[in-house]
């Protein structure tokens, strides 16, 4: 009888003495996404945290709507909105210590802003004036990453380096559900687990990679299940429950900092807007689906829980909304100014020292610009 003919068997009998390296059970995610708001445990969340989450959620929603409006006014070339995903963004932006690092993708401007980045600087990539509008070291936020999943190995390497140097720094890397299909996702998780690196991976599962639904992306029981195969814990959380996302991330960060290795967190959420303003979502999903998710809005969920505990009154609500309006007004004003760009900057920072070829090309462009300016002068 061959192995395959043995009833129930799908692999040969393990060699004598074979043991699984780790017990898989503690690594497995729960069957249901973890929720806090609306449960009895919500009574124990610190009021300060809830108030902070609320303020940032309200500001975050306003940031998203304002940035989207700027695309319509031609002030922003493109904006991948995180409306509906603010709970993930805010939790990711708040959960780290100053010395920790955040590795965002193009959709994660809000997380970077919550972490302290100037809201305009965070948008330069999308406005089109420079690829990264900030110094990553200032707030320890890596450049917003466009090629999918490629920032994940960077996060692992940085966390590993910090540990080699004896620093208790943690890296939090963000990726979408689609990005989990890339080879880099696999390699990053494997390195992280083998090196026991202090990294937390947060998958924002918003249901779609542009038009492709999760069912066509993976056949796994959940994305969090992928963790087990690498030997790290997988956690499944309601991505619209800001308190739950914050708690799960905070626990993963603590574990990583304490030398407990990496964690994969899957936050189940939804992309309310189209992929970007340039995408037509009606081609691949019905409005009814979007409406169902609108009813599970992260801000509404949090407000309900806070009102239950008398942590949010009309005045608190007004204060949060005023803060959001100030953010939006500031963004509008500053984004309506044309950025002043020097074309000669094209030749800066290609190398630490400019090559002779680049010096020649810079001289060529300088001459062209001077000629253009002279022509414009003549026209006046």
């Amino acid at each position: 009888m061959t192995v395959l003919e043995q009833p129930g068997a799908y692999r040969p009998t393990p060699p004598p003495g074979w043991q699984p390296r780790v017990d898989a059970a503690p690594l497995l995610p729960d069957a249901e996404p973890y929720r806090l708001l609306g449960t009895a445990a919500a009574a124990d969340i610190s009021p300060d945290l809830l108030i902070r989450l609320h303020r940032e959620l309200v500001r975050g929603r306003r940031y998203n709507t304002q940035a989207t409006a700027l695309t319509r006014q031609g002030r922003l070339a493109v904006y991948p909105s995180s409306t509906g995903q603010e709970a993930c963004q805010v939790a990711a932006g708040l959960v780290l210590e100053d010395r920790d690092w955040l590795f965002p993708s193009y959709r994660d401007t809000l997380a970077a802003v919550v972490r302290g980045l100037d809201p305009v600087d965070a948008l330069t990539l999308l406005r089109g004036d420079w690829h990264s509008g900030y110094d990553p070291h200032t707030h320890r936020v890596a450049p917003l990453c466009t090629p999918l999943a490629t920032q994940l190995p960077h996060a692992v390497g940085l966390a590993h380096a910090a540990r080699l140097k004896g620093d208790d720094v943690v890296a939090l890397a963000l990726v979408g559900d689609g990005g989990t299909s890339e080879g880099d996702f696999h390699e990053a998780l494997n390195f992280a687990a083998v090196w026991h690196a202090p990294v937390v991976f947060l998958v924002q599962n918003n249901g779609f990679a542009i038009s492709v639904p999760l069912a066509k992306q993976t056949a796994a029981p959940s994305l969090a299940h992928k963790a087990v195969g690498y030997g790290m814990p997988g956690r499944l959380v309601d991505g619209n429950d800001a308190a739950a996302v914050h708690e799960v991330l905070a626990e993963a960060v603590r574990r990583a900092r304490a030398g407990g290795g990496p964690t994969l967190v899957e936050a189940v959420t939804y992309r309310i807007e189209a992929h970007t303003n340039a995408d037509d979502a009606t081609r691949y999903r019905p409005d009814s689906e979007v409406e169902a998710w609108r009813a599970h809005d992260p801000i509404a969920l949090l407000e309900e829980a806070m009102r239950d505990r008398h942590l949010l009154d009309d005045e608190g609500d007004r204060a949060a909304r005023e803060s959001a309006e100030r953010l939006a007004a500031d963004l509008r004003t500053r984004m309506h100014q044309d950025p002043v760009l020097d074309p000669m900057a094209l030749f800066e920072h290609v190398y630490a020292d400019r090559t002779s070829q680049l010096r020649e090309q810079a001289a060529q462009l300088r001459a062209e610009l001077d000629a253009e300016a002279a022509d414009a002068g003549k026209g006046e």
């Binding site: 089109g128 466009t146 890339e182 094209l346 070829q357 062209e368």
Partner: protein, 349 residues
Amino acid sequence: MTTAVGTDTARKPATMAQALGRALRDAMAADPSVHVLGEDVGTLGGVFRITDGLAEEFGEDRCTDTPLAEAGILGTAVGMAMYGLRPVVEMQFDAFAYPSFEQLISHVSRMRNRTRGAMPMPITVRVPYGGGIGGVEHHSDSSEIYYMATPGLQVVAPATVADAYGLLRAAIASDDPVIFLEPKRLYWSKADWSADAPEQVPPIGRAVVRGPGSGGGRSATLISYGPSVPVCLEAAEAARAEGWDLEVVDLRSLVPFDDETVCASVRRTGRAVVVHESTGFGGPGGEIAARVTERCFHHLEAPVLRVAGFDIPYPPPMLERHHLPGVDRVLDAVARLQWESEWTEGSAV
């Protein structure tokens, strides 16, 4: 099932994007072994809508939304080709094809050679490429040199609507892998092109002289392909006023390279400028200039010049106009072809 896209058979304007879609559709209708796969190619019809309607017409097994993994897409295409299918792969943008380079370089390009001809790779890889559309970082790369440097790959770049149709049909029919570079900024360029009676396009590997010179005055050849061809045609028009008679050679195919057409033109005109938007240093122009010099040395009145993008990572959209070679830069190069009086060390750029 071969239903015509339009009901009227008269010649009508169409865009390059529509011509590419039509080529895919016609190829799939003509040959059941043609399969389209990639990210968002099904329900959405691709982010540029090139594959619009294919999943509906031919089913999801023939036009497949894959998981988001370029190495996986091209790697599985290799296996599909091994089993007799003709995969047409869509890479969403130039810079997103890079994860697939391992498959491309280690397997797709050399499978025929390593199996002594037993296992050809009739794969077409469609890559929307190049700048000029205001795309954010990683959406505007000109990656042709990486492909050109890999033996076993054919590299094609159409510049006209008719060529887009004809070359894509030829690429899909080819028994060798073809990197099909689609100039994004020409996707919406229109032409008087009939989908029902498309112009005949010769096989891959033939260049064409566009706007042939009249043979009078000072003459030169502009050698180009893809998105820079319209720039050269405009420059040729503008140079006429200054007494220049410029021939524009549209290469259409970088590999194989049509030495014959290029050199015939350069021998006629005596001067040449290669124009492309990818970087100049180590770029395609160097290879082309060397070939022309080797074959036409005694006919040349001046060195072969190159007009290319700067040797920098592709810039952000607000600065790309300073990077992309435009008509003025081509005309400047043409002016420098008056070698005898003006060429000095200092004027070289």
